[in-house]
Symmetry: C2
Subunit: 375 residues, 2 copies
């Protein structure tokens, strides 16, 4: 392999690639990036076997071939390279780099050791705006579990039809959004479900947000159970999770007995204040709806007590008490973009439901309450 | 105690105070902030017994008294307080806070338990620009040791005369700067030496940089061996370290056999590149002066090898090899503000000396080389 390329292209490819490298590689080559010159094109690729990325960058190719080198080393190196043309060449398992008055050889592994990048089969394809994934990761992904002992809960379930639905739950809360992806995305009669790991989606989203707003082609390979994201120069692949996602429909409550609208910032501020007092008592924050509004309070024998009264507009009902883990409330409320949120509850031990007021897209967040001793 | 104050003043005082609270308080009150209304003034104070701060803020005082509350709790709380007047009142050991629709009581300790803030005695006073300490912390403080087993090496030695000298060394490197503080600062015939902990100075500097450029009054209390920084509303005190600072004059080498000038950025970049290869081999980076310039290289059996040639202007001599720990080089070079640095060396095992070229203030940094096997 012998190629010449610009440092800015090299940096960009490496910064994409290094996010997809295994953090604790089971075999050394999974901690490496693949550099490959093939059929007149230069690629940088990485995989941790669950997710993979392949990025094509402009380069002058004077000889084909491939090599892999540790992602950590090359990524640190490019950060300090001079802004001059970079000359790469490979001898055996060593990559040589020349750039201005800098020369180096890096110990790598042959390209042949690198896992073969999965090939797209025909599958089902659809075109999706890149910004869609930002919304999914922000509004839904955070509700997925990080506990690997129940892998299905670490995923986001997508139901791809003309109207796409994305759901995640960790058993204590649930996020659900729907978006209309417009005409002819998937034929109406076909219902495709994919369960993709939330953590991987979040890496994919970071790459997509670098690309800016554009349309990206998705391909769902039924046979390999993998999702591909493709643009001209980029291909990302994520392996679907195995297993059955819980029947979340049963968790979503019907209309609540008390329904209110609340200013989101005011509510968020009140919960933040209560969280300071709740920290030493299992993060429990109590809500009490009264004629005066919503009383939010927390109590800790070590720290002290607090109450904030937040103004609410009642739509239905005007009473009720319920208690939540402050962490879940803070995470949920910070994901709404709307100025006002709608909250519905029925009784202390049944789930509370948050939705945005005047929201263009459907987004629903459900939190299971915590049981507290009555005083 | 009963006071009314503006949330922005309260926040500011607490943000100053919390930096001076003990991180792992040996007695609970050292993790607390003192709020005190006395003689028509309101103060927030903190101390970890080594350093202390007392800050006066505007407040309407309706009752005198004092209380202390955990810094962590109050600091988190003020971050989310509404932007309305804050009402503080004390009952026993409890602080009550009202602010808009928020009310809270925080469990504290009586003001009487708080250590008495040291009183300035006459001592020696001088006026110093606040920016002086920024330079001391940045250019000298980083060379102090963080190893508490030899406390004197964690300090910065100041020699206060008309010309002030500040020195720190951890045994492997030494930083020294001199600054002219102008007329009548200290009487010529008096030589005052203070050894102040570098870590504390760095906290003091953060407060001073918030104050912006101004003149601050220093008072050195010979009897209590404490340094006071005073402005209208602020008083900071730092206790001097006990013990004798090493005789650093003996460490500073005379003129080197090879003296060069180097572009600082180019040198920094070359060292950063070498550091990538040096990480797995004790951070050793080799320097070799030749007719072509300075060859900077590192070698690791795992990672690979590299060489960068950096252009130099020889003033004297034109050869020599020396090796340094890359961490020391990076830390030193990033502290220079000058475009070019001057480097002096004599032989492989004698210290290398860095100074700025065309520098207004005198700043000198000395690094002990590491011994390497000749190849």
């Amino acid at each position: 392999m012998k190629v010449i390329l610009l440092p800015e292209n090299f940096k960009k490819a490496i910064s994409y690639g290094e996010r997809f490298v295994a953090t604790k590689p089971q075999i050394p080559v999974l901690g490496n990036l693949l550099f490959q010159a093939k059929e007149g094109q230069f690629f940088v690729a990485a995989t941790n076997l669950e997710t993979g990325i392949k990025f094509r960058i402009g380069a002058k190719i004077e000889g084909e071939g491939a090599v892999t080198v540790p992602a950590r080393v090359i990524s640190e190196l490019v950060a300090s390279l001079p802004t001059e043309k970079v000359f790469l060449s490979v001898e055996g398992e060593e990559l040589s780099i020349k750039c201005g008055r800098f020369t180096a050889t890096i110990q790598g592994l042959t390209g042949a050791e690198f896992p073969v990048f999965p090939k797209k089969d025909k599958g089902l394809t659809l075109e999706v705006p890149t910004t869609f994934f930002q919304e999914v990761v922000e509004r839904v992904g955070f509700a997925a579990s990080s506990d690997e002992s129940r892998p299905v809960l670490t995923g986001i379930l997508f139901n791809w039809q003309r109207r796409v639905r994305a759901v995640a739950t960790d058993g204590y809360r649930l996020s659900l959004m729907e978006a209309d992806l417009g005409e002819g995305v998937v034929k109406k009669e076909v219902e495709v479900k994919t369960l993709l790991p939330a953590r991987s989606l979040s890496e994919v989203e970071r790459v997509l947000s670098d690309l800016g707003e554009q349309t990206i082609r998705l391909t769902w390979s039924l046979e390999q159970r993998q999702m591909f994201w493709t643009t001209g120069d980029l291909e990302v692949v994520v392996r679907a999770l195995e297993g059955d996602f819980p029947d979340y429909q049963g968790i979503i409550p019907g209309e609540g007995e008390t329904i209110v609208e609340i200013d989101r910032n005011e509510l968020l501020q009140a919960v933040k204040l209560a969280a300071v007092f709740a920290r030493d008592s299992a993060n429990i924050v109590k809500w009490r709806f009264t004629k005066e509004g919503l009383e939010i309070s927390a109590r800790s024998s070590q720290v002290g007590t607090n109450i904030t009264t937040v103004g609410v507009d009642y739509h239905k009902g005007n009473s009720g008490t319920i208690a939540f883990n402050s962490r879940y409330l803070l995470e949920c409320l910070s994901r709404f973009r709307e100025e006002r949120v709608r909250f519905e509850m029925t009784e202390a031990l049944r789930p509370g439901v948050f939705t945005g007021v005047k929201s263009k897209q459907e987004f629903k967040h459900i939190i299971m309450p915590v049981r507290v001793q009555e005083e």
